[in-house]
Structures are given as C-alpha cells and as structure tokens.
C-alpha cells in the first residue's frame, strides 16, 4: 500500500497494571513514515514511549496494536537489517573493542574469513576514530569512546536502517559535540537511514531532516512533525548563524516546555488527524512572531500538509 521505506501504522502500547489488567496506553494511534536516507529524530518527555517505539522498530518489543513495515516487509522480530545503538553502549566487557565489532560482523557474514572480518571491523573503527584502540577492553575506554564502538558496531553490519536510543545521553557536552560531528559525517557518507531518540534540541536540529514531536504520555501522540529546512550541509559551528536556527529551536523548546503537556486538550489536538500529523516548517516562517504568542493557533499557520 505504501511506497515509503518505513511506515508505522496505528502503533499502540499498553502495559498491564500491577493487578494484571490492561493499563492506559502509553501511546496510541502512532503513524509516521521514513524515506530512504532520511535522518529522523524523535523528541518528547520521559514516559511518552519513545524507547518503546524504537524497540518495536528494532523488533525487541511487540506493539499492542498496529505495526511497522520496512522495505515492504513487516517487522516481526529483531533483524540484521536494523542496527541498534543502545543507550548504555551495551558492549560486551569480556571482548576487546575489535572483538565486539567482529562479533557483530561475524553474525552478519558468517562465511567471512577471520582476516576479512578484522579488516572490515578496522575500517569502521577507524571511521569513528578508534583505530588506535582496537585491542583494548571496553573498561579501558572513556564513555565517549565506548559509545563510538557502539556506533561502529551498528554501522559495521551495514544495516538498512540505524536505530539510536539516546546514544549521547550520558556524555559530556564536548564529547557529545565531537561524536555528533562524526556521526553526521558517516551518515552523510553512507546515506544511512536513521531513527534516533534524543532529549537535546540542538542535537536534533543539527542531525535531523525531520523531528517528530511526541506529546506527553500516557496516551502520547505525535503532535507534529517538524521539518528542518536548513541546508543539509550545516555544521555545529556554523548553524546558529542561520536565521532559521533560532526559529526552529524556539519552536521545539516551546513545544517541550509549554505545549507538550496540555496537548491533549488544545485546539491543535482537535484538528489533529493521527494518520497525518501536521507537518510544520518553523524555519521558513518569516513574520518573526514566536509561536505560541497568538492564541495557541500558530501551528496551523505553518502546517503544510492540510
């Protein structure tokens, strides 16, 4: 039915309460699509089910309703087609850095020779700047380096899509910036399709083509999809000179601070069509009025698909 690379349709998740009855859905009626080569960030407060959505896409968790189709095949379990970078790096501490990446590579191409696997892994580890540390154990690495190994491991299996669960959450700002740059470079070079959870608005603006905004859970929904209209070759050092940057940033921050809580009762929600969440381009709005200042209806001015 769809021609999208990945489409999520009617996704919902209900966890049972402690007495075994089904509870309130964490989120419901989630629809969105990802095209090949797109970088999608998803932002929302804790408890809106971002990680659950990612886990469903990864095939690690089952949705209570709805499903996802990637490359014309329904996602019904974990697959080597989707590489996952976990929040807490999830490296196996008893293996070396090379061993960790080789474990993944060997899983992908069991028929490869040892030398070929090592060569392949080294390429990816050099890509994340860890060529010098391949024989170290994860415990000997800093947090940033560990997460780089995690990224190299996910890239090394050359998946069709990459899923990143807040990969830089535990890192300090400086390290985070460096790795963001590296990730951006690699993603652009490999044309990788990426779905990433983040809490960092600047990170989302730097990396993403589209940002999915989730309202607060329970009963979380996709409130808006924000298109980042800045040129794709933006860099961390330059992007804040672009006038679009602050418009987008203000829009995102405004959503997180003000609109995400009361979303369920707002005017925007009344007009909300879950199957086609409003797509907005705050970067292109030139009237300079910060969203939210004109009676809670600015959203509609920017909506492009209705």
């Amino acid at each position: 039915m769809t021609s999208h690379f990945l489409s999520v349709e009617g996704l919902a998740k209900i966890y049972p309460t402690t007495d075994g009855k089904p509870g309130t859905p964490v989120f419901e009626d989630i629809h969105f699509a990802i095209e090949r080569g797109e970088f999608i960030c998803i932002i929302g407060h804790s408890g809106c089910g971002k990680t659950t959505i990612l886990n469903v896409l990864a095939g690690l968790e089952e949705a209570s309703a709805g499903g996802a189709i990637m490359d014309d095949r329904e996602i019904d379990g974990p697959s080597l087609d989707r590489g996952v970078v976990f929040q807490g790096h999830a490296l196996m501490p008893w293996m070396t850095v090379l061993g960790n990446v080789a474990f993944a590579t060997k899983s992908r191409w069991p028929e490869w020779s040892k030398a070929k696997i090592e060569e392949h892994c080294t390429t990816y580890l050099e890509m994340v700047g860890l060529g010098h540390a391949i024989h170290k154990k994860p415990a000997e690495l800093s947090g940033g380096m560990k997460q780089r190994v995690g990224i190299a491991r996910a890239f090394a299996i050359e998946p069709k899509m990459l899923l990143l669960d807040e990969p830089f959450g535990a890192l300090d700002a400086l390290t985070r910036g460096t790795i963001q740059d590296e990730l951006l470079k690699i993603v652009r070079a490999t044309q990788q399709t990426v779905f990433m959870i983040t809490h960092d608005v600047d990170e989302a603006i730097l990396l993403a083509d589209k940002v999915i905004l989730m309202s607060n859970g329970p009963l979380a929904k996709i409130a808006e999809i924000v298109e980042i209209t800045m040129p794709r070759d933006r860099t961390r050092a330059e992007m804040h000179h672009d006038p679009q940057f602050y418009r987008i940033r203000n829009h995102l921050v405004d959503f997180l601070v003000n609109r995400s809580k009361g979303y369920a009762g707002s005017d925007a929600a009344q007009l909300h069509d879950a199957k086609h969440p409003p797509v907005v381009r705050p970067g292109l709005v030139s009237d300079g009025t910060p969203p939210g200042d004109n009676g809670g209806r600015p959203v509609l001015k920017q909506v492009v698909n209705q």
Partner: protein, 281 residues
C-alpha cells in the same frame, strides 16, 4: 624505609606460627623436663601434671614434625592396603572429588542454563532444589550403597550430590542475571542460540558460575574426608581414621594439616580461574 603491608603481615604470621609451636611445645613437655626447666612453667606443670603421666600424651610438635618428615620424604610408597604413602592417599581423595565434581558440572551447568533461561523451569524446579539442597550429603550414603552396591562409586556419588547444588543455583542465577542489553545486542544481530549461549551468556555469567564451582569444591573437599571415613579403603579420610585406630596421633595431625593445605590449594586454583573469567565493566 617503609616496609610493605604484605611484608609486615608475613612477619606477623610467622611470629604467630612460632608462638603457636612454642606454646604447643611447652604444653606437651614431659613432667620431668618441666621440673628441670620449671621457674616460668611451674604453674603450667601443675596444670599438666596428671595428663602427662599417661604413656602416650598429646604428641609434641617434635613428634608431629618427624611424622611430616617421614611421610613427605616418601609420599608414594605402597605397602599393602593399610600402609600407603600420603601422596597416594591424597591422590585417591582428589580422584574421587574430581570425578564427582566433574559429573556434577556436566549435570549442573546445562541444567542451570535451562533453569536460568526459563522462568517456568525456575519456578517448577525451585521446590525440589530447596528441599534437596539442605540435605547432608552423607545422608545419601545408605541409599547410594544400597542402589549402587559399590563403596567407591557411592563415595563419588556423595561428592556429586554435594557439589551439585551450589553450581546449579549459581549457574541459574548467573544466567538469569545476564544484562538485558547484551541479550538484546545478540537478538538484534540474529545470533543463533548456540553462539548466543557460548559467546554471550556463558562469558557474562562465568564469574557467578565460577563462584558456585568454588563453593562446590570447598564443600566437596570437606565432605570427602567424612565419606572416606565411612567407606574406608583408601583416601585421606580413611588415612585419618586408620591412624586414629592405631592411636598414632602425630600422623592424624599430619593428615589434618595436609587436608588443610590441599583444600587451600584447590581454593587458590579456583580463585585464579575466577580472576581469569572476571571482567571489568
């Protein structure tokens, strides 16, 4: 110059050891000698007076020392069923412990894996384990002797049954506690179950499993002495019992020390193995 803590501890240990031997020596002096050297020992001689009158009192360190020299200088002689070198006796015990322990391993590790992986099996088997675990391994002896009809095999069975529980429980616990993240990594990489078991779960649970094995070995070494006293024939436990029947207390003390030393060596061995599989996160 400051000496290291290890060195100072070693000096103190040596001092305690010398003191212990000294007190033991004084305590086992014959009354005549104590009269000759009395002064400081007058009170002590009085205390020991009666006991020391017996022909064979508690053996002195010198007597025990000569037993050490005698047995250790020729550990592997064999003069028939009741007179074998200490090396042979310890060897028999180690063989039994080793066999029983290996059998327990073959049983406990796979079963522990299954229990650890399946919450259903954990719950289903838990009552049995909880009831069987506290049973003294020697209580199985009559049943073992009756069904197996062989004292040698029964001894091994007793070691098997006592090594089983700590290994089984620790393996199940270790396997159940493997970090979710690592399992998820294996799942997203579509790793086949065998590879997952050997390359992810086993190394992740290895420190816990080895702790179980270390505890099992400690218990097995304690139990083998008692088992051999019951079963007889060979082994360090039988040696102790035999020397007691001969009223050769220096030999008994020698054997006790050997039991301690071998037990320590076994524990050190497992300690080293444990270090080998422990990972730092």
């Amino acid at each position: 110059m400051k000496t290291t803590l290890t060195f100072r501890a070693a000096v103190l240990s040596l001092f305690i050891f010398v003191m212990f031997i000294g007190v033991w020596h004084l305590a086992t002096l014959a009354p005549k000698e104590s009269a000759a050297t009395q002064a400081a020992n007058a009170e002590y001689a009085e205390l020991m007076g009666k006991g020391a009158e017996k022909a064979s009192g508690f053996p002195s360190p010198e007597k025990v020392g000569s037993a050490f020299v005698k047995y250790l200088s020729d550990p592997f002689y064999d003069n028939g069923p009741n007179d074998k070198g200490i090396g042979i006796q310890v060897g028999y015990s180690l063989l039994r412990v080793g066999t029983g322990f290996l059998l327990a391993m073959l049983f406990a590790l796979p079963l522990g894996f299954v229990i650890g992986m399946s919450p259903l099996m954990t719950r289903a088997l838990n009552p049995f384990i909880q009831i069987l675990k506290p049973i003294s391994p020697l209580a199985w002896m009559p049943l073992a002797l009756y069904t197996l009809k062989d004292s040698e095999v029964s001894g091994i069975f007793v070691i098997f049954i006592c090594s089983l529980w700590p290994m089984l429980i620790n393996t199940a616990f270790g396997v159940a506690g493997v970090r979710r993240d690592w399992i998820n990594v294996a799942r997203t990489l579509e790793v086949n179950p065998l590879r997952k078991a050997f390359l992810v779960i086993l190394p992740a649970a290895a420190p816990t499993i080895l702790t179980g094995m270390r505890i099992s070995m400690g218990i097995a070494w304690i139990v083998i002495v008692a088992a051999e006293m019951l079963v007889g024939g060979t082994g360090i436990g039988y040696f102790v019992w035999n020397e007691w029947n001969n009223l050769a207390l220096p030999n008994v003390i020698f054997a006790i020390t050997m039991i301690g030393l071998v037990g320590m060596a076994l524990d050190l061995g497992f300690g080293t193995l444990q270090k080998f599989v422990t990972y730092r996160e």
